[in-house]
Structure formats: structure tokens, C-alpha cells
């Protein structure tokens, strides 16, 4: 046990040292660092695998973080050791540095793209999809007429929709929100429609026995039963919304926003800023997905997937 811990500490020190040496401007330093890290890598992987096997809360929380750190370190060593050009793949240290230097810009972009376009579009698109699903479910006419048209709308390519929305709603964030609405509306419509139809014959017969009308049946049986479907759409849409807003900014925008930043800085070869923006997007996307998953767990605690 002590031996393993000792070798893990040794490997970690070796890894940090080689990361430091790799950036030194001595000739042959990167190659030497790469060699050292090749020694450290198997030891680190072994130590991490052993740690991840533990069934403690600390291990469960720390394992993915340590694994991520290992990947970042490996990325750093490979890029520096093999002299990979900066435009192809900057090292994580450079991305982190860009993140800190451009924090103000990144925050402004985040506010423009995420807090305005994504959240407004997501709320409107999901809300409208849910409301239309209720209407479609209530009216056979709409089910026959609207649902197939919705199918058509769902296959419209976002790169085609975005310029049209810019024409309609202007350069600022409302046109991006509109793209997000178009993207998120249909998944919510389809999922909610399926969820409302997901009740069993016996459960419906039970409501019929009590002479329950449309509204009690909807509120007490069909909406609760549809919740797992609705949450599937909410999670799917949280990622779609971010993609939609970022891509939409490629087609005309004021001089801010995450999509604008990515397209202009990529054109200027500032790949570290592009990667820093991608990091912000990935963090925002994961956090919102995680938050919705937590709400789902609380709201559909009764579902077989979450029962304890």
C-alpha cells in the first residue's frame, strides 16, 4: 500500500517537473520532458485506476477530476514534446492563460449568447412546444395537420434558418433566440405528445370509472405520466440551444457573442481564444444539463430509473 502511494507521489512530481521543463527554452528540453512523462504515465494511470475503485464519496467526486487533469497533462506534454504547431492545437496552459487574460471579453460574450439568446430562446421554444403538444393532443384536426408540418420544420438546416432569422429580427440577440426557438420547439412537441399518450389502458380505464373529465385526467394522470418524456426533451434542448445560438452568430451579429468570437478569432489564428470560448460553452452546457438532470431526479423520483 505504502509502495503504491510512494510511486504515485513520485509519478505526480515527475509529471509536474516535466511539464515545467517542457516550457524551458533550453535545447532538447521538450524531448527530455516527453521522455520523463512517458515514465510517469503508466504509474499515474495505475494509481488513478486503484483510486477510482474505492467506493467513497471522495473517490467518486475526485475520480473524474483527476482523470480530466491527467488528460490535460498528457495533452500538454504531447503538444510541447512533439512541437505541434500552435494553430493546430494550443497546449492547455496557453488556453488557460488566454482564459485569464480575456476574462472580460469572455464574460461579455457569455452574457450576450447564453444569458440572452440561449435562455430566452430555450424558454420560449420549450414553452411553445409544450403548449402546442397539449393543443395537438386535444384536437385531432391539429394532430393530423400540424404534426406532419412540424416534422418538416424539424429537418430545416440551422445554417439555412439563421440568415432568415437575422433578416426578420435584426443583428442582435433576438434573432439568435429565434433560431434557438426553432431548434428546441420540435423536440419538445414530439416528446410531450408521446408522453401524453404514454399512459396504460388500465390507468385510463380507472379515470373513466370515476367519470373523470378531460382536465382531472390531464392533471392527475397524463401530465405526471408524461414528465419523463418532457425532461428528456428539456435535457436534449439544453445542448441544442447552445449549439443553435453559437452557430447562428456566424451569420451576422454585433461585435460580441461566443459564436462571433470563435469565427473572428479563428480567422485571426488566435486559437487560444477560440479554445477558451469553447471551454466557456462546454462548462455552461454541462452545468445547465446537470441542473436539469437534478430537477428531473426530484420531479420524477417515482420513475424506475430513479427509484431507491
Amino acid at each position: 500500500m505504502r509502495q503504491i502511494r510512494g510511486s504515485a507521489v513520485f509519478a505526480a512530481v515527475l509529471a509536474l517537473a516535466s511539464a515545467g521543463i517542457a516550457r524551458a527554452s533550453l535545447p532538447g528540453a521538450p524531448a527530455f520532458a516527453l521522455l520523463a512523462s512517458l515514465v510517469a504515465l503508466p504509474l499515474l494511470v495505475l494509481a488513478l485506476a486503484r483510486f477510482a475503485r474505492r467506493d467513497t464519496l471522495a473517490a467518486r467526486l475526485a475520480s473524474p477530476a483527476l482523470f480530466g487533469a491527467l488528460l490535460l497533462w498528457l495533452w500538454e506534454m504531447l503538444v510541447l514534446g512533439l512541437h505541434i504547431p500552435f494553430v493546430l492545437l494550443p497546449p492547455p496552459s496557453a488556453i488557460a492563460a488566454a482564459f485569464v487574460t480575456h476574462l472580460g471579453t469572455l464574460a461579455t460574450d457569455f452574457r450576450q449568447t447564453y444569458l440572452h439568446a440561449v435562455i430566452a430562446g430555450y424558454a420560449l421554444g420549450c414553452g411553445a412546444g409544450f403548449a402546442v403538444a397539449l393543443a395537438v393532443d386535444r384536437s385531432p384536426f391539429l394532430r393530423r395537420g400540424l404534426l406532419p408540418l412540424g416534422n418538416l420544420a424539424s429537418v430545416m438546416p440551422i445554417v439555412g434558418v439563421a440568415p432568415i432569422m437575422v433578416m426578420w429580427f435584426g443583428f442582435d440577440w433576438p434573432s439568435k433566440a429565434a433560431v434557438v426557438v426553432v431548434m428546441t420547439f420540435f423536440p419538445m412537441l414530439v416528446n410531450t405528445t408521446a408522453g401524453l399518450a404514454a399512459t396504460g389502458a388500465m390507468e385510463r380505464d380507472l379515470m373513466h370509472c370515476y367519470a373523470a373529465g378531460y382536465w382531472p385526467t390531464l392533471l392527475k394522470l397524463r401530465l405526471p405520466a408524461s414528465m419523463p418524456f418532457v425532461f428528456t426533451a428539456l435535457k436534449l434542448n439544453s445542448t441544442l440551444a447552445l449549439i443553435g445560438a453559437v452557430v447562428a452568430e456566424f451569420f451576422g451579429t454585433p461585435i460580441l457573442g461566443m459564436g462571433f468570437r470563435i469565427s473572428t478569432e479563428a480567422a485571426r489564428m488566435n486559437m487560444d481564444i477560440v479554445w477558451a470560448t469553447i471551454t466557456v460553452a462546454a462548462l455552461a452546457g454541462s452545468l445547465s444539463f446537470g441542473a436539469i438532470a437534478l430537477i428531473e431526479r426530484a420531479a420524477t423520483f417515482w420513475h424506475p430509473a430513479f427509484r431507491r
Binding site: 388500465m202 370509472c209 370515476y210 367519470a211
Partner: protein, 274 residues
């Protein structure tokens, strides 16, 4: 001793008790692939207040269809059917019956108590009374301590008892049960049969009970309706000579075995048409 003392001589219900269900020439037909299948033909049946009627027969004999027709879950294609003197649809809208399905059909997002309260909520009962009723009927089926649990935390037998409490809590005069204990093991089933028998004795309600099991039908019923398949129809109606008060022990008595024998003969006769 014992057995004969349990067999009270009274027969229930009184022959002039009010009619609860009346079927005359009742037929139900299904349309599948343009072909007409007679699930039930020319059924004549009178069920009076306080009756415990079992419908027994092979699969496809229409016993569940008959129960569903009484509950207005299935539209008849011919004949007349009245429940409490009204059409089946009117009786359903007047919440005349409680229905217990083959499976518990509890809503997993509701606690046990809130499942029992479901019909009371739909009927617009005040919250205080709802809670009181749910408590009372859960205690009646022996689940007073499980009110706050969720259905999926209970065994199958307990879940079915919750569904019985749910069917009873709005105090209908007619209880319709579709093979409620079919999925349970023998011992659990015995216990629930005894429980149901006592409930029926205490409340004086009418019960229509669909089953596959001869001992279950004979033990519980005042009348046993033997049915046959293709087309579904009634081939025998047996008035039970067993008294109102029953314990599981009567299943070895001569009277019990005689009734069971007649039911079996009826079922066999129904089968020989195949």
C-alpha cells in the same frame, strides 16, 4: 365440531332485495379485421343488493367482458343492461361502483394514501374528509402504517389491497373485481379472500367477482355463474347453500365440495363443445 357451526342456515341476500344489476339478452361483439367476434351472447342475469356473484369460466368466455359492460368500459351490442335502475353509462357517471383491476393500477408518483384519495379528489371531496377516509380504508385493508409509502415500495399483495381500499373509499354499493388476486401466491390469496369475505359481510355491498379459481369462487360467493367460450355465454347459475359466515376451514366441508363439484362439471360441459 367447528365446520357445521360455521355454516349458518341463512342464505344471503334476501330474495326480495332490490335489483342492482339486470341483464336481459345482453350481447357484446368485437370487430377485428372486418370479422365479427361474439364475446358474449344472450346473457340473462339478475344481481341483487348484498349478492356476492362470481363469474367463472375458461379464457375467452367473456367474464371480463361482462364485468366491463356493467362498468360501462365496454359498450354492449345488443340486449338491455341496467345498473341501479339506470343505464350503465348513467350509473358510471353517478359513481355507482368501485372497480378493482387485474393489476393494482396505482399511480407511482402518488403515495399510498394519495392513491386512495384519487377518486375522492376527482369527486371534489374536502381535504379533511379525504384524509380521514383514506386513513380509515387503509386501516380496513390492514395497511394503516403504510400511508406515506409509495406503491413500488410495497409487495404485490399489499398493492392490490391498496387498490381495494381505493375502490371502497367512496363507499359505492357495488364492487366489481376482475381477477384481483390472480397474480398472487396461494397463501396471500387465502388471506385476501378471507379479508374480502369479511369486508363484504360487514358492508352489505354487492360484489361481482371474476375468477379462474373454483375454490375461490365457491368460498366467496352467494351465487356462482359458470360461463363457456365461443361464443361467450352463461351455462349454469349455482345458488350457494353455504351460509353467510365463512372461515377458510369450510373448504373441506361436504357442502363446499358438492358446490365445487357442480362448478367443475359445468366448466367441463362448456369445454366439450370445443
Amino acid at each position: 365440531m367447528g365446520e357445521s357451526a360455521l355454516l349458518a342456515s341463512e342464505t344471503v341476500p334476501a330474495p326480495n332485495a332490490p335489483v342492482v344489476v339486470e341483464a336481459r339478452g345482453l350481447g357484446v361483439a368485437f370487430e377485428t379485421d372486418g370479422q365479427r367476434v361474439n364475446a358474449l351472447t344472450s346473457v340473462d342475469l339478475t344481481i341483487r343488493r348484498g349478492d356476492f356473484v362470481s363469474l367463472i369460466g375458461p379464457s375467452g368466455c367473456g367474464k371480463t367482458t361482462l364485468l366491463r359492460a356493467i362498468a360501462d368500459l365496454q359498450a354492449p351490442s345488443g340486449g338491455t343492461l341496467t345498473v341501479n335502475g339506470m343505464s350503465a353509462a348513467e350509473a358510471r357517471r353517478a359513481r355507482a361502483y368501485g372497480y378493482v383491476f387485474q393489476a393494482p393500477a396505482l399511480y407511482p408518483w402518488r403515495s399510498v394514501a394519495r392513491n386512495v384519495m384519487l377518486p375522492l379528489e376527482i369527486m371534489g371531496m374536502a381535504r379533511g374528509e379525504r384524509t380521514e377516509r383514506a386513513e380509515r380504508y387503509l386501516r380496513l385493508v390492514g395497511l394503516g402504517d403504510f400511508a406515506r409509502k409509495f406503491p413500488w415500495q410495497l409487495s404485490g399483495g399489499m398493492q392490490q389491497r391498496v387498490s381495494i381500499a381505493r375502490a371502497l373509499c367512496f363507499e359505492p354499493t357495488l364492487l366489481l373485481m376482475d381477477e384481483p388476486f390472480g397474480a398472487l401466491d396461494e397463501i396471500t390469496r387465502d388471506g385476501l379472500n378471507l379479508h374480502l369475505h369479511e369486508l363484504w359481510r360487514r358492508t352489505g355491498m354487492s360484489v361481482v367477482f371474476v375468477t379462474h379459481s373454483i375454490p375461490e369462487a365457491v368460498f366467496l360467493s352467494t351465487r356462482i355463474v359458470v360461463m363457456s367460450a365461443r361464443p361467450g355465454r352463461i351455462i349454469d347459475v349455482i345458488d350457494s347453500p353455504l351460509g353467510a359466515a365463512r372461515a377458510l376451514g369450510i373448504r373441506e366441508s361436504a357442502e363446499f365440495l358438492a358446490v365445487a363439484h357442480r362448478v367443475r362439471e359445468g366448466l367441463r360441459a362448456g369445454h366439450s363443445y370445443d
